[in-house]
Symmetry: C2
Subunit: 179 residues, 2 copies
């Protein structure tokens, strides 16, 4: 039994949210920009996937006249149904994280090891930068209550990401204090 495929559903979700034709580049950018906290994808995954989904009838491919380069894709009714079905079934998977920083901390073990401080400082720096980026995006996309309600799902996961990173930053600083 092959693993349950997620990427096609993500692509379907983006296409429905966009309410129009999209290119492979737009999908890649969208995932990296707006879903990056919870999913990662490379453009080299997207293009073959679009081809596959077209073959399966979930989307249709339309060449842009006078532009050989760009191809635009549109949702089919079958794609819509498939997406709704996926959203309705519970997903039993727990969020999975790969965090090399935590692994290293674990293996260093000795609180007095000088590498502990280095690791912490580097991580704090990275998380600070990332948090500033997220907060900027929050201010840009959701300046008022109306914008939050009009794109509720987006607001939700962005605020989730902000909180998560703030909490992590607090924790890292506390660890550094405690040395």
């Amino acid at each position: 039994m092959p693993k349950q495929r997620i990427l096609p559903h993500i692509i379907l979700g983006i296409m429905r949210a966009r309410k129009g034709m999209v290119t492979g580049k737009q999908i890649t950018d969208f995932v990296q920009q707006d879903l990056g906290e919870f999913w990662q994808v490379a453009h080299s995954q997207v293009y073959p996937e679009l081809k596959r989904m077209t073959a399966e009838g979930l989307i249709t491919c339309h060449a842009v006249p006078g532009n050989d380069k760009e191809k635009q894709y549109a949702l089919t009714e079958e794609g819509r149904v498939n997406l709704d079905q996926w959203l309705s079934v519970p997903s039993y998977e727990t969020p999975q994280q790969k965090d090399i920083f935590s692994i290293k901390m674990f293996f260093i073990q000795d609180k007095a090891d000088p590498r502990v401080r280095t690791l912490l400082e580097e991580q704090i720096d990275k998380v600070e930068k990332h948090l500033r980026h997220l907060e900027g995006r929050m201010a840009e996309l959701f300046p008022d209550k109306e914008s939050k309600d009009s794109q509720y799902g987006h607001y939700i996961i962005l605020s989730r990401a902000v909180e998560r990173n703030r909490t992590q930053l607090d924790w890292l600083r506390e660890m550094l204090q405690g040395l």
Copy 2:
């Protein structure tokens, strides 16, 4: 350029922490039990990796007399050096998360959709169970101050995991309230 391999370093780290010979099964269990919040691995990855690491001279393989089934592995000096080196270089990767729940929330978009409540309740249930497991493990492994200091790295990442899940649970409950 192939991607930087992490698994061998994790195996080296476990072997050093254990200070003795270990089997493939023990390594698999250790990752799932103690590093599971930050790394995942299947036994079918571990056995080939041990073979490879043996060929590279990072570890040595020792058959157990009168037991064809089990093979025990031990660190070599080269393995020790390799591990220390890995722990010393900064890792520029940010923690990556794959969280289907958040993706679904994003795509449902409409706050009034009945599936929002279902998703939240299911997720709360899962996180509650997981949190209880983590808290139990915390109480079991680190009942007093001495035990925390003696395995500082382990204590650190376990408390990190507990906090992370508590925060997520709070957030989920708040979302459910807000419906």
